[in-house]
């Protein structure tokens, strides 16, 4: 990925506790959910059809957890080339609602070497405008 190599952080210059540049999203809209429904292939009506959502006991539709995971993925690939990603996982801790302003954050928690490859482990989260954590996760990326 030559287009991003020059911006890639270097293993030696990183410290545990260093943070990734934050990614702030626009408020979650119904259009975003409709587009994600179509593009992702996740056609579960609970995310786009308010009548269905109410029949399932919800006050309104809510965002796909995987949409937030895709945003956190952008946080990662804004920081390192996509080919540097070794693992990436999240736990969906709370529901992201229409109107929420989601912020994606990441922090270095460990520097390690695996099979001669230098890597860092990152702690990830999405939080809303009130500071409520929606997703928590971690990723391991390889660094030069």
């Amino acid at each position: 990925m030559t287009s991003t190599t020059s911006h890639t952080p270097r293993f030696d210059s990183l410290q545990v506790g260093d943070t990734l540049p934050t990614l702030q999203l626009e408020p979650v809209s119904r259009l975003m959910l409709a587009l994600y429904c179509g593009a992702s292939g996740d056609h579960n009506p609970i995310h786009v059809d308010i009548d269905f959502a109410r029949s399932a006991g919800r006050a309104d539709v809510f965002a796909h957890g995987m949409l937030s995971m895709a945003w956190l993925g952008r946080l990662l690939t804004n920081w390192v080339p996509p080919s540097a990603l070794r693992s990436y996982g999240v736990r969906f801790a709370a529901i992201t609602h229409v109107g929420d302003r989601v912020r994606c954050e990441g922090r270095v928690t460990e520097k390690l070497e695996v099979g001669g490859e230098r890597r860092v482990r990152l702690e990830l989260s999405t939080v809303d405008q009130d500071g409520q954590v929606k997703l928590t996760g971690d990723a391991v990326v390889a660094l030069p």
Binding site: M32, P82, R86, S87, Y88
Partner: protein, 147 residues
Amino acid sequence: MIDRSFIGHTLPAFDVRVEAGRLRFFAKATGQTDPLYVDEDAARAAGLPGLLVPPTFLFCLEMDAPDPAAIRNLLGMDYRKLLHGEQQFTYHAPAHAGDTLRFEQRIEDIYDKKGGALEFVVRRTQVHNQRDARVAELRTVTVLRNA
């Protein structure tokens, strides 16, 4: 309660072709503007065989199974009561538009918490490409709310 005898059950493997148009649509839906995901010329100029599959899109491709409801129906789960609990990816090789990926799904575990009010289904999916190279492994935890 979900029948625990399905622990270890393997589903029939299936192939999914990665389409460039779908990748562009996914990039739009997720606000991804990096040209590697949307501009075929830029991807080729970067030495890639086609548009790059973004980190979470493998989960979407897995949902392109011939019967995306296969596991739900097999285990008798009402999807009004389902939540996505966890999702993990381990990456081995990149995937690109034009690839045909093979998905092999296995039900790794089924367990419950809170006296059966919550049941958890853990699925592990191996993904290989048309050259039989390992692309990724997905681990998905689905939560069934029985309360």
